[in-house]
């Protein structure tokens, strides 16, 4: 086995701004997205930095074995090889969107996913007990919900999302996905199950653009009480309740004198990660997240 792998669910408890640091559009501070598919994601480098700080309580040698040694000098001089240099045993993958909370006429909001998002998540979750089967693509614009969904009108069987009006069918696989995702979050199983919906990939593409949270912010001049010239900007976030799936992987410790197996590396990395502060704009309440791995038997090797 090359590396052991453990998938995790990242749940945004407040709006999550994992930005790109650059913009060419009308939003000054957009969130990071995959370029070719527009799927929002949280870079693994962002999560690794947060985990590194969250696990400061580890013995220094273990901490360094997990995350790798920190550079002592910034810039080009820091690239020089040092005695005892080693790679960190932990590899943190990007967290990719799996369900986006979208305003719903019924049920307040729905956790909306699509066959493409679920298929990508299936790869990360492969090997876990109870993983639902492949969700077939919807042949036309429409939605699928679980039995007992509170987001569809009982008579007309329609899902009313923002300004989208979608025919909805009951599909057991949707229920199975909601239950599976909520295994990391048992106390909210009912809430997730009754709000989980799967729309076609094209509708999801539209929602990926329109259902994120965009806020306009200003800075006020304390002397005049007006907006400082040029200090008006827009920033985008993934809304609170967004669900993302990512993967942590680990090999044995490569640090001399610190023997840790891949399993031990993962356990140390994940311990105490119930609440994390991810992304930017923390001082205005952004980025409070819950990170949880699936309980039970974890996969040891891919089929």
């Amino acid at each position: 086995m090359s590396m052991e792998i453990r998938p995790y669910l990242l749940h945004a408890l407040s709006p999550l701004h994992a930005g790109t640091g650059q913009s060419v559009g009308i939003i000054d501070l957009p969130i990071a997205r995959l370029r070719a598919t527009n799927i929002p994601f949280v870079p693994g480098s962002s999560l690794k930095g947060v985990l590194r700080e969250a696990r400061r309580s580890l013995p220094p040698a273990e901490w360094e074995a997990l995350f790798g040694p920190l550079r002592e000098v910034s810039g080009a001089a820091g690239d020089e090889a040092r005695e005892g240099d080693h790679a960190g045993a932990l590899v943190v993958g990007d967290a990719r969107l799996v369900a986006l909370p979208v305003r719903s006429f019924l049920g307040t909001f729905a956790w909306v996913s699509s066959p493409l998002l679920l298929e990508l998540a299936r790869r990360d979750l492969a090997g876990l007990d109870g993983l639902p089967g492949r969700m077939k693509r919807l042949p036309a614009t429409g939605a699928r919900v679980g039995a007992g969904s509170i987001t569809v009108s009982p008579k007309q069987r329609r899902l009313l999302l923002e300004d989208l009006d979608l025919d909805a069918q009951v599909e057991p696989a949707v229920d199975a996905w909601a239950r599976f995702l909520s295994r990391t979050w048992p106390e909210e199983e009912e809430g997730l199950r009754e709000r989980f919906a799967v729309v076609d990939d094209e509708t999801m593409s539209f929602l990926l653009e329109t259902a994120t949270q965009v806020e306009t912010r200003v800075r006020i001049d304390p002397d005049t009480g007006t907006v400082v010239q040029g200090a008006l900007w827009q920033e985008e976030s993934l809304p609170a309740e967004t669900l993302l799936v990512g993967v942590l992987a680990a090999g044995r410790s490569l640090r001399r004198g610190t023997e840790l197996s891949a399993t031990e590396v993962l356990e140390r990395a994940l311990k105490g990660t119930a609440l994390l502060q991810l992304g930017g704009k923390a001082t205005v309440g952004r980025g409070r997240c819950r990170l949880a791995a699936w309980p039970g038997v974890s996969r040891e090797a891919r089929p």
Binding site: M1, S2, M3, E4, I5, T20, G21, Q22, A32, L34, R35, A36, T37, N38, P43, G44, S45, G49, E53, R71, S74, G75, A76, D79, A81, D85, A87, V91, G93, D94, L116, E119, L120, R123, D124, R134, R137, D201, E202, S205, V247, A249, G251, R252, S253, L254, R256, E259, S261, A262, A301, R302
Partner: protein, 391 residues
Amino acid sequence: MSTTARFALLPRDGLFCKDGRGWYTSDVGRSHSHPWPPPSTIRGALRAAWGQSLMARSSRTLSPAQWERETQDVALGPVLALLRPLGEDFAPEHRMWPVPADALAVDGRLQRLLPRRPTRGVATLGTEDDAALEALWRPVLPPGKPRSLQPFWTEDALSGWLRGETPKSRGQSGPPFRVDVRVTLNIDTQTAEPGMLYQTPILEMLCREPLGTGAREWALGLECTLPADAPDFPGGPLGLGGKRRLTLAERVTPALFAAPRGLPERSPGLRLILATPAQFQRGWLPDGLERAEYQGDPAWVGTLPGVEGQVVLRAALVNRPLELSTWDMVQRRARATRRLVPAGSVYFFERVDGRPFTALSTLWLAPWGNGREEGLGRVLPGHWNPEEMNT
């Protein structure tokens, strides 16, 4: 005892294959990536995975020197670029090939570049001090401004090209890049550390289908030889390219590496297209050829692996060299940069005895030149009629 494994690598989070340009050579904090991972990067990832699996099995930590020694027999065979609709199993029709250098797009359509005998008084190929170089055949360029071609061809397009047919499409664009910006935060001030804001171009492997109907994904198909029997290798994700980005592995069948049906059995001349970059001792000139006289003119004559009899090199359409810089994990320093003949370059041969080439399919993805254990120098055999432009 060694074993052969075949699988496809699916980079989960995209790929970053940094080229030899450092972070600090031009714009501060900006790196540069290869547009497609060189085979050497893939072999490096396999060796790292093999070393990790050895450590996991033996519960010991390998030193860099042990690691180097115990993984050096991990050899890479053919490497393929693959593009499939999400959810399908890999099949030969998903193979994507580097665009051949003997293709040219002028006035919106593709044309084959056909070498023909040089005539006196034409421009030279070099410094005019190498008679064998000057004697090489060269194509006549059609009038009009050539347009750039897409970097990849589909299986259909390439199979037809090897038979001498011209595809209608100008090819397929490669996976797109996104730019990831990264920063190191100072934990005391929670601000960016000076000089530690940097960006990396990431090759994205997941693309949306045209018209938004689903998605397609790029992957790397490969065949490798391992020094021991390891049926489950890699058995987990690999770290591929810079920053050890996670890459999932999926088993594939030998059929994925087989020659396509319809390759010509016989051909008066031989056209060899490089499917992967090649490393020759004398730069662009294939190994096994020596300067000699043929039909009264200076020429490069010799033998080719897998080809019967002596051959003469008639033409070479070679793209700009690929500068490859790799890292020595034991010495902890960069190895000397190598210049490789890039994939897509095309060589044209005739047999010295004037007989046709036969059994072209045996040359399918055959190795050529140095660096075979790195997957370098794999060739695609094609039909060529030397008289097509010379009668």
